[in-house]
Symmetry: C5
Subunit: 296 residues, 5 copies
């Protein structure tokens, strides 16, 4: 089912619909291989580029929802000799990237241009994606350096998985693409190869950006762990400091709290003053001892 009348006669556009008959019939008419159809109907299919004799078949994944990048959506593009077929199991591509108004004149002239345009739109959506993920990774980094919240680990893991998914989606497409370059198919004319180069360039840039993100995130985890360790170290210092000062003092009070009949100083009028002064000296000494050990 196409959502609006196709103004381009050679473009078969399909989005999810309750009734797949039209799609199935189009496939039959265009003589698509059943294995290709099976791949298109598998919503979890990995990205790939395949070149057949009379066909270029491409599956890509897009991330339409900026607020939930964990969700990805499949887009299938097929370039035939006299047609382009696009299929997706939802409306993500249609809603977020496809803009019929923006399809330039030349793309509506021949299938090759249309196919490259659609492919370009898919690939161009990866760069803002990696920019968005970069911003989130940067925020995590700042938090790790400053004051990590209690649920840092949980959010970290979420972002880590999202970046991993995106990276996989983009880099598999890029690899497949690289393997096939230069495309030796009569479907794509020599004069369009530079558009393919450009697309590949953008793919490569996105892969690079996503890998930079991933490695930034990994080093952020290290920062977080350092921060936790550092804080623990400081708490232990605090504990040691308090204990070092007061445990010896308490011992002194314990000594003069013993019930010996003839403990010295007890009866002396300045006895307690002397003891208090001694305690202050012990405290200072302990302080110094502690600080010196810390410095070592």
């Amino acid at each position: 089912m196409s959502l609006e009348p196709n103004k381009i006669p050679f473009w078969f556009r399909f989005e999810r619909s309750g009734n797949m008959d039209e799609f199935q019939e189009a496939c039959r008419k265009l003589e698509l291989d059943p294995l290709i159809i099976e791949d298109m109907l598998n919503e979890q299919h990995l990205p790939k580029v395949e070149i057949y004799e009379h066909l270029v078949f491409l599956i890509a994944r897009i991330f339409p929802n900026k607020d939930n990048l964990a969700e990805s959506s499949m887009v299938c593009l097929i370039l035939g000799e006299r047609f382009v077929l696009s299929y997706e199991p939802g409306f993500a591509f249609y809603n977020s990237l496809l803009n019929p108004q923006k399809i330039p004149e030349r793309a509506s002239k021949n299938p090759e241009s249309l196919f490259l345009l659609l492919f370009d739109w898919v690939v161009d959506s990866y760069l803002p994606l990696s920019t968005c993920l970069r911003r989130q990774a940067d925020m995590m980094e700042e938090e790790a350096l400053d004051q990590p919240e209690k649920d840092f680990s949980v959010r970290f893991q979420q972002l880590y998985k999202i970046i991993g998914n995106c990276r996989r989606a983009v880099s598999i497409l890029h690899e497949d693409f690289m393997r096939l370059t230069p495309f030796n198919t009569p479907l794509i004319s020599k004069s369009s190869q530079h558009i393919l180069n450009d697309i590949q360039d953008h793919l490569r840039g996105s892969v690079q950006a996503l890998e930079t993100n991933a490695s930034l995130l990994i080093s952020t985890r290290g920062l977080y762990q350092d921060a936790v360790r550092q804080r623990q170290s400081e708490i232990i210092q605090h504990l040691t400091f308090i204990t070092s000062i007061f445990i010896p003092l308490s011992f002194v009070t314990g000594v003069f709290g013993m019930n010996f009949a003839n403990l010295p100083l007890l009866e002396s009028p300045y006895g307690y003053l002397i003891v208090l002064i001694v305690m202050v000296l012990i405290a200072v000494w302990m302080w110094a001892f502690f600080k010196r050990r810390l410095k070592e």
Copy 2:
């Protein structure tokens, strides 16, 4: 020994049996190389694909028991010019994947189709496997983020080893397969190459999924370690908190527990009140000191 009369005349199917005579005789009749037979009888053999002049020889490992994925089982498939031979040292393939009823008409027509069908069934069993492992890895991740049990490490290690085994089994097969593609053997006709492509595609998908699982599991271990560290840090905080408050207070009680004859305040009617107030102030101060250090 075949368990039921083979309805397909060119299919030699063998499962484990007490008496290997029939198998040995079939091998002799089909003129299989002794080294191939030796490989088939080695139950621990690694997966491989080999292309001889008149033979395609394939060993794969399947994981028939969903409740114990540590157990794997070997399946051997041989495609000859006029026959297909399948062999396994147990009944795992027969019981879990092989369904003679579902063998389509065309596969019972020629060996090539049958071979590809059986191979496809083997490869198709890897995807549910990785889905199942994914579910277990997800559960471990949730536990690591929430409340890891005491035996987390033990279960983690088990799952880690299972995923490792599966990944190895699938990726070795995939590598061998890649190396040989496109299959230049007269045994597989040009028109069937796209089925091989499809099988390879599924293999690749399974390898990807299993690798994703493995990397998810590794980052789960990191989460678990963070959680242990975090909890330890909190216990030390608790210890430090209690100690910071009460050690100084105990010192104060120690001071007024000393038996000096003329310690001030002791005889004063409000002495103990004053001291108690001082102690409350110290406690508050220590609390604040501790909190401030924690924030730093």
Copy 3:
């Protein structure tokens, strides 16, 4: 807009300007592909080298600001049959590396020499960069081994990211360069190939140096973590030492502080002396016990 009259007639030099008309017109006259122009106008573009039929197109990143190496700047160089075009979105290349006075006679004779000269200047700027980063990494290492400050992690992360950026910029250029060597383009004569070799050599040296830096920095992080762990270990030793000595002594004072009517020694004239001696013995024993445990 060119900042000074170009003395070399075939050199089209452009730096950022408020009005891009001149640049656009030059591009039109030189018949540059719109995709190349688009790449040039994307300031964040990754380095690359591309060889077209009548064009060598090169994007590199330079790091003009020695005090803020996190900032990088793009330089584009194009070698055509009868021209060289250089473009940058700022004045970084012009200010830091380009020195028209130093352009030798031969470079002003033909485009090829000029292009190679400019490229060489870009590549030559990477070595001092890596030397500068090396110095910073060495300083971090020394600090980690000696007395890491509190903000060590923050500064470490900054340097780590800078080195990562530089390494990426240089190694992508190097990879592209390697892939294209030897340059099979009529634009670069056979006799100039050795200059390309030399440039490649320098690129490789810079990549090596930056990778050495990165691995040094990573091992520095290990040193820092060891130092933090070591210090924590020492603080805990201190805590344990103080506690081991005084807790048992306090217990002894507690015993003789109990109000039992007939506790022995209390009335004896040397009672407290005996107890003090016992306490000294306990302290010595505890000291020895602690030291022995540490040695084990």
Copy 4:
């Protein structure tokens, strides 16, 4: 010096002997290159396979001593046009693997068969080796999960180094072998290529098994570290638990141990009972507080 009369006339077998004259003379007669002889006399030589015009030269390392796998021993095999030469600097190969009685008829017919047989024996010795190491790695894993002894680290390191050595020995041989496959030398007939394939298969299996061992061992180290961390965490919990309960109680006793003249409750007949009840309440509260913090 050969230990027993060679029954196979074309087989030159040498083990270590005090007098190398016979060996040197054989080398001269067989016209071996001095560099090959030099390699053979270097007992620490890495494994390698080299194919010369009239020679296949192979160095492998075997691990003859099952109780001390840290010890490896060199074996050299040379296949010439009309001879096989085997050399080892000890008797390890002769004692552990070489069994003249088991040399089949066909191997004593031509050098090629003998060479392949000997090579096969060397490679076949790697699989039991990896099985033996696997058993040891499994035992370490169990210990790490259960109750690691104090010298765990030392034994771990030993096993780790042994597995590393074995892996290196086997994988270098495998790599060299792979690089040369298929062997384009007239010395090995086409009909024997499948034996080479089989040998390569076994080598590959051994490499895989040893790598699995190594990665198992590495994850075992992780288990061990987790166990140490876990135990430390529990000890700190214990410490915190004891301290949380008794420090506040000691403070209460300290309060009523102060010598104030008019401290309340002291003279009351149920005073001490009230205080004891209060202390029990504090203990219960502290217990609950501690448990709650642990759960958080």
Copy 5:
């Protein structure tokens, strides 16, 4: 400036000298490319092997000072059609490896032999180097397993950097060498290719040995960290042990140190004995509790 009259007429040998005129003139006479000269004059140049039409140009690094392996020194060798040129910016090669007396007859006959001999000497110096580093790495390992000193980290880092430098120097040379094998230059005759093979073999052995060293060192760092962690764990055990025993006992003394008028047992003649027995029981119980927790 050559240090002694060259007995081999085609050998141009240069070591550092205050006056470079002779060197410059020789370069001019031999018609060396200015870029090659520039490379030779850069003392920090990475190792490389380059094959020109009439020239083989080689830069290697040697480590002449066994007591300070952090210091490396450059050696340049050039093989021309009728000459060999050796250059170094110091006397390291001359002093440590070059021994004119040991130059065999045949090497003084033609440039090719001399070049290969010198190259062989350079490469042969790498094996003792890696043996020496191995010994140091073994010593660090023993120390880590036994009793690491306080400056372990510092010395570790030094050795780690030295091994890294050596490894880089050797492996870059090896890589370049591999890339060019087999040398297709008329300068090296077919009959000398086996000498090149031998050199390559030795290079490979050195690379392997240095990589083994590096990985040994990395696992040594793990051992050291385990040891630090283990020791910290033991100190905490000690602390917990002491605290577990004495804190409850001190509480008991505190109870009977309270000044309640009618605390039971105080007036009883066996009161203190009963309390002491109770305290012993508590101590034993605490001991058992602690040990049980440790075992869990």
